[in-house]
Amino acid sequence: MEIIWILIPFALLLGGLFVYGFFWMVNNGQYDDLDSPQYRMLLDDQLKIKNNINNQPNSNKERK
């Protein structure tokens, strides 16, 4: 059971690190918008490119 004297501080340290990480993320603004990312990930990049191939060259040409 002596192992517990190492495990407890280690567990607390680990927990502390996670809390620190969470605070850092919050302060960094990563949690400011909790509504959009869940929708954003639904927009499939692959699909988008496939469907847009017909239009993409046109708009590129115009830009050039």
């Binding site: 605070f23 400011d32 954003r40 639904l42 927009l43």
Partner: protein, 811 residues
Amino acid sequence: MSAEVISLNIKEVVKKCAHCDEPIALSYFSKLSKEKEFCCLGCVTVYEIINEKGLQEYYDIKQDSAILKRRAPAEINTNKYLYLDDSQFLKDYSSEEHGIKTLEFYLEGIHCLACLWIIEKLPQIIKGVEFSRLDIGKSTAKIGINSNGKFSEVARELHNLGYKPHPIKKNTEQTILQRQEERTFLKRMGIAAAGSMNIMLYAVSIYAGASDIYAEIFGILTVVLAIPVMTYSAYPFYLSAYSAIKNKRLNLDVPIAMALLLGFIYGLFNISRLNHENYLDSLTALVFLLLITRYFLMKIQQWGLTANDLNYFYASNSVLVKDSENHFREIHPSKISVGDILKIRPSEIIPVDGFIKSGESFLNVSLINGESKPLKVRLGDHVFSGTENLNNEIEIEASKTLKDSRIGKLLKSVENGWSNRARIVQFTDKVSGYFISAVFFFSILAFLFFYNKGNLNQAFNYAITLLIVTCPCALALATPMTLTNSMSKASKKGIIIKNDEVIQKLSEVKNIILDKTGTITFGKFKVLDFIFYKYDEDFIFSLIQALEMNSKHPIAQSLLEFTFRHHLKKLNLAATVLHGKGVETQYNGFQYFIGAIKSKDTKIEQFEEIFNEVGLYENNELIAKFRLADTLRPDSKEVIKKLKKLGFNIFLLTGDKKEIALKISNEVGIESKNVFYEVTPEKKASVILKLDKPVMIGDGANDAIAQSNAYVGIAVSGAMDISLRASDVYLTNPGLTPILDLFTISKETMFVIYRNLFISLTYNLASVCFVFLGLINPMIAAIVMPTSSLTVLFSTLFGTQKLRKLFKEKC
């Protein structure tokens, strides 16, 4: 004269607009597609632009995604947004980093996944846009441009796509404060979660039978871990309880704060006696659960309009001001000072009060007094802010600044209405008030009872047991959770409830007051039917298009919109606008005139005067006749009938003329004794105050004061912003049908709350008896308490049959 009569029956049409899903009264078509039908020209334009940019996928995404927010038909963009390029303006509003200028916009009309998709596609469709990111919850987009881009162009494109942009001032104190608050709340939740989970680890070990030195160490660890949770995370509860007690009130936070403090002190006390018993595991979990419930509640309310949103709406369109060199340039309305000469173009909103310096025109004053007929103004006339210039360019001299103008004042009185409103003690507050007093009374009683038996330690133990076992968790958690649950489900159905009190209040009301213009009706002139005496549809419509092309009169505009549904070949005619009379032209040797029906022709058919009739004349002979009126929303009649069946008294309140008010009330089935007509906004409020617990349903600025004075104010879809601000509930789906759902939700939710109260009170009563019989110790109390909470939780999630059915329906 052979009369070919074509009559359109509007009520039978329930098709939905392909762009905005608004029900279509009259279909419009795009030249790109014969199948898709639209509700207005604005939506057609946006549809065509989206196609032109190769963004058709928008409609596929829209179809698959649930609608999240209010929808509205698109407006045709006339704004140039040149002030966005003004360096003075950018200094206040945008920030620059690595050569990329960033500006944040509030976008009107954001409603679903497809909007997110299209907004974030901006870098691919507008030159010079580096990035674009949308916060769908707040409807704000951060857009960055490089040196090739211009914000005015971005804003114009956004508006063309159907999202009206309002720039947001960067980093005002308010926004920083709000962001800070939100972040702090998240941190409190994080600490509570980490603390309670870790405590659980050690608490379980103790329950599992850890002994001696381990039990002591674990006991100390739980207390140490509980310190940040009980102080930092639970701070909001202490604060709220403190302010309640200071105001001599009891709210739900009082017993919670009390239980938390006592439990914490008890834990510390036991640790100091080297006794590892404490209930910090349940207490910290309680803090975490409560914080989470409140967080969700906050999030739901954010989907509604926050106080800040109002700032975006006012003064975000530019205005033309004459400078010292007699040139007009665009400025931001907040910069207008008294005496400035402003040029107001057709379809612009007059930003400040003033006098007409030159020109004459018709104004749409419905936002101010609810009258649907345009008001004619000429030189020297007083004009009010918030009115829309309809046909001619006018110049006005500002007599007030933005802040002191009519709209500004109206806004202020709305705010006052809010703060003056008697603070209604929430239902659960009332119950918990008694409940808490009872709990304290019994705790003290238990303490004295067992102290009399001679054991201080046992007396203390039983008092704590009682406090814990009757801890109003069920009350504290279940009521807000039931409300949150209903509110979030309602918001997915397009009913945004801004305040949870509303659900309770709606269950008590009997009187419903409806505004006319824009609520029961669409608030816009539409062609009802037309009669041709000569020629066919194509020719007449082409002729009308050519004639009315340059007229800005509202009736001309609706005629024009009406004929635009058909894609006709254009007749190029030089038309002369005869002000206030009509339009005239020559074609194929004939003289054509369109305007008000000349008196000698009225004998053909006597129309009631509330309709606006327009005749088309060929050499003074009437060849076609159009009848226009503000039409009823398709569901108005049905909803009013159902509401009456449910036992509500329905009233009609309007600023419009008597005849129109009575005609409409007759049509939808409101008794004429319940109709109030020709009422000013201020008077509307006084009518409201005479009724018992009135619900005001309206859409305009003229309803705002009434709404804020009503017991419950409801704003309908497409409502003016000030009205949204003043209301407690607003509907994002068009029409009045959601009101029926709202009443069902309110009634059923209250039923669930009563059921929960009954369950938790029974639990508590039983456990109080057990405590006095000495059958429960704190350990068992800690087990019984969550059981009662769980029962109530299931009852909440289960809801009622009606609620389940309502929320299951797809909106």
